[in-house]
Structures are given as structure tokens and as C-alpha cells.
């Protein structure tokens, strides 16, 4: 049944808000929320896009990427997110790497695909990406980028879903482009029913995310290109998996582990996910 079908269930009482932000469809759901809370949360998502999108020239991230290797003052939000990028790198053994922006630009992912599609890919691809801690240094109130560029698109939705759910209400779901956190007992006290790869599971204080290579993909010069860069090669990942969904204790962790598992491929992903994920689907 579709989310609309759920909304039609009598007596569910679930408030719902759907909107486009961060280049994705976002959904906020809640029970017993304070008045105006969904509007407030929607505003926070839109604000996060303005601050952290590399496609917005005046965003704080764009200014940071243009800082030329100098230490620059950053907001607490960006500081926390850059620390999260380093945490994602550590959690994934280096596979989830926010410093792959040069590779993304080289394959032509220079603007949102909904706004004109990719630009021509470079003839020469950049080399494998250096370790993120070598590129990015973060200290209280300031940070330095020593070469390359940062793209936070791979972690910001899960990170923000966790943060928003923590303040939106005690019984809510924040779903930002498929990366979601379900907080509280849900409508019937057993958790929020969430679709994961065609199966519905009950999530309570858990996150879920899906990573795949079939969206944000295009062809160029006889090659199939997509946005998921393998930092080991600096090129779009060549995985035998097309899509990975993960349930974990946080949306951020689910997002990181889904991407790492997809990069590892069908042979290694199950061993990687065992002990890290609460549930997963490889396709």
C-alpha cells in the first residue's frame, strides 16, 4: 500500500508532510507533534540544502571548497557535518569518502541532474583519492581543506534525518530522500512500519537507507557513469550490486554502511554488514 493508502487508514492520526529538497523527495511523519513542528522541520531541511549543497555557489560548503587550503572559520553545523564525514570515512574503512568531488566533476556531475544533466566527462580521470584525514582537518570553529573538494551529498541526508528526528517529536519519522530515522513507538506501539526492498519492517529508534547506482547515472563515450565514486580508483564504482538497503541504529550509519557494502560487492558485503547492520538487502 502506498503512503497515501496509509494516510487514508481511519484513526491513524499521522500528520504528514512531503516536499522536494536536497534533490530528493522528502517525507516527515509524526504523531502528537506540537503545532507547526512539521513546518519548522521542513524549513530546516531547506536551510540545510542551502548551506551544504556544492551546487549552490553561495553555500557555506562552496565557500569552504574555495578556501584555497587556508584555515577558515566555519559554523557549528558545518563543523559537525565535516566531523561526520571523517566518522563516515572511519566507519567504512575509507570507502565512504567525502573528498571525491574532483572525480565527480571529472565525470561530468557538475550540476544537479534535474537541471540540464551532466556536462561532458573529462578525457583523463583523476587519480585515486588520498585518505580523507590527509585532505580535511577540523578543529573547533575552523577547518582546512588541503586540496581536492568536499561533497557531502553522500552523508548529509542520513545525518540530518537523525538530528531532525531527535527534536521533531517523540513519535515521528524523518525520511530525506530515502534515508530515514524512525523514532518512537509508531501508530500502533510496535514501531513505525517502513518499506525496505519490498518488505515492511517495524522500526523503533532505528534508521534505514538505500544506496544504488541506477539513479543519477548516465552514458558518456560508450561508458556508463554514475555518481557513486569508489575512492580506491577515483572512478564510478564497478560493483556487482546495483542497490543495497540497510537498517541500522541510526540513519547516518545505515547510509554509510549501505554505500560501503555496495562498493564491496556481493562477495564481501554480507561479512561487512554482519555485526554492523540490523537488516539488509543486496540486489
Amino acid at each position: 500500500m502506498s503512503p497515501e493508502g496509509w494516510r487514508a487508514l481511519p484513526g491513524s492520526g499521522v500528520e504528514r508532510r512531503s516536499f522536494l529538497a536536497m534533490g530528493s523527495q522528502c517525507h516527515l511523519l509524526g504523531l502528537g507533534l506540537e503545532r507547526g513542528r512539521l513546518d519548522w522541520a521542513t524549513g530546516r531541511v531547506v536551510e540545510a540544502h542551502r548551506r551544504f549543497s556544492r551546487f549552490v555557489p553561495e553555500s557555506e560548503l562552496s565557500r569552504f571548497n574555495a578556501s584555497g587550503g587556508k584555515w577558515v572559520a566555519i559554523s557549528p553545523w558545518l563543523e559537525e557535518l565535516l566531523r561526520a564525514a571523517l566518522e563516515a570515512y572511519r566507519l567504512s574503512g575509507g570507502l565512504v569518502h567525502a573528498g571525491v568531488l574532483p572525480s565527480m566533476l571529472a565525470i561530468g556531475y557538475t550540476r544537479p541532474l534535474a537541471e540540464g544533466g551532466p556536462t561532458p566527462a573529462a578525457a583523463v580521470m583523476p587519480p585515486p583519492v588520498p585518505p580523507l584525514p590527509e585532505l580535511l582537518q577540523v578543529e573547533p570553529g575552523r577547518a582546512r581543506l588541503r586540496g581536492g573538494g568536499i561533497d557531502l551529498g553522500g552523508i548529509v541526508k542520513g545525518w540530518l534525518a537523525d538530528r531532525l528526528a531527535a527534536v521533531l517529536g517523540e513519535n515521528c519519522v524523518v525520511n530525506l530522500g530515502g534515508d530515514l530515522f524512525a523514532r518512537g513507538p509508531g501508530p500502533q506501539g510496535e514501531g513505525w512500519p517502513v518499506g525496505v526492498g519490498g518488505t515492511t519492517v517495524l522500526l523503533r529508534d532505528q534508521g534505514a537507507a538505500t544506496s544504488g547506482t541506477w539513479r543519477r547515472a548516465w552514458g558518456w563515450g560508450g561508458r556508463r557513469l554514475h555518481h557513486l565514486i569508489d575512492p580506491r580508483t577515483g572512478r564510478p564504482a564497478e560493483s556487482d550490486l546495483g542497490e543495497v538497503s540497510v537498517v541500522a541504529e541510526r540513519a547516518f550509519a545505515a547510509e554509510v554502511h549501505a554505500k560501503a557494502a555496495l562498493l564491496l560487492g556481493r562477495g564481501l558485503a554480507p561479512a561487512y554488514l554482519a555485526g554492523r547492520a540490523c537488516a539488509w538487502r543486496l540486489a
Binding site: 500500500m1 503512503p3 493508502g5 496509509w6 487508514l9 499521522v14 534533490g23 530528493s24 523527495q25 517525507h27 511523519l29 541526508k157 519519522v173 525520511n175 530522500g177 530515502g178 534515508d179 530515514l180 509508531g186 501508530p187 500502533q188 510496535e190 514501531g191 513505525w192 512500519p193 517502513v194 518499506g195 525496505v196 526492498g197 519490498g198 518488505t199 515492511t200 519492517v201 517495524l202 522500526l203 532505528q206 534505514a208 537507507a209 538505500t210 544506496s211 544504488g212 541506477w214 539513479r215 542497490e243 538497503s245 537498517v247 545505515a254 554480507p270 561479512a271 554488514l273 554482519a274 555485526g275 547492520a277 540490523c278 537488516a279 539488509w280 538487502r281 543486496l282 540486489a283
Partner: protein
């Protein structure tokens, strides 16, 4: 004469090595059902349920027949 002896010795040695190697290989056929070496380290996590391409569940997550309120998806 000496060079001829050397050539013969070298040829004999080569043929001998080939014959012995073939015999050794034939006597030590790889068992295709043998476990991978080194063995994969076992996980403390309970074995998930489900098949290839289906959702693998641990006891931390339970499936339900309820309709989904929302879903995770590729974006």
C-alpha cells in the same frame, strides 16, 4: 661430445621434472568443496534469515503485514 652430454642431461632433467610434477598434481587434486583458506571469521551477530536478494533480518528487526508508512529508496 661433452656438449651433447650436457644437452641430454638437461633434456632428461626437464622431462623428469615435468613427469614428476604431473604425477604430483594428479595425486593432489583440489577439492572444490574445501573451505576457503583462510576461513571467514564468524560473526557474533545471529545468522540472518532470508535468501539472495531478499531482506536479511536479525532479531533487532521484525517484519510486519502492516502497510508501510514510508519507505527507504535510492535517491
Amino acid at each position: 661430445m661433452r656438449s651433447l652430454l650436457l644437452k641430454a642431461a638437461a633434456t632428461t632433467l626437464t622431462l623428469g621434472v615435468v613427469a614428476l610434477s604431473a604425477r604430483y598434481v594428479a595425486a593432489h587434486l583440489r577439492n572444490p568443496s574445501a573451505p576457503l583458506q583462510p576461513p571467514v571469521v564468524g560473526s557474533a551477530t545471529p545468522a540472518p534469515t532470508g535468501g539472495q536478494g531478499s531482506l536479511q533480518l536479525t532479531p533487532a528487526v521484525r517484519a510486519t503485514d502492516l502497510p508501510p508508512a514510508t519507505s527507504t529508496y535510492v535517491s
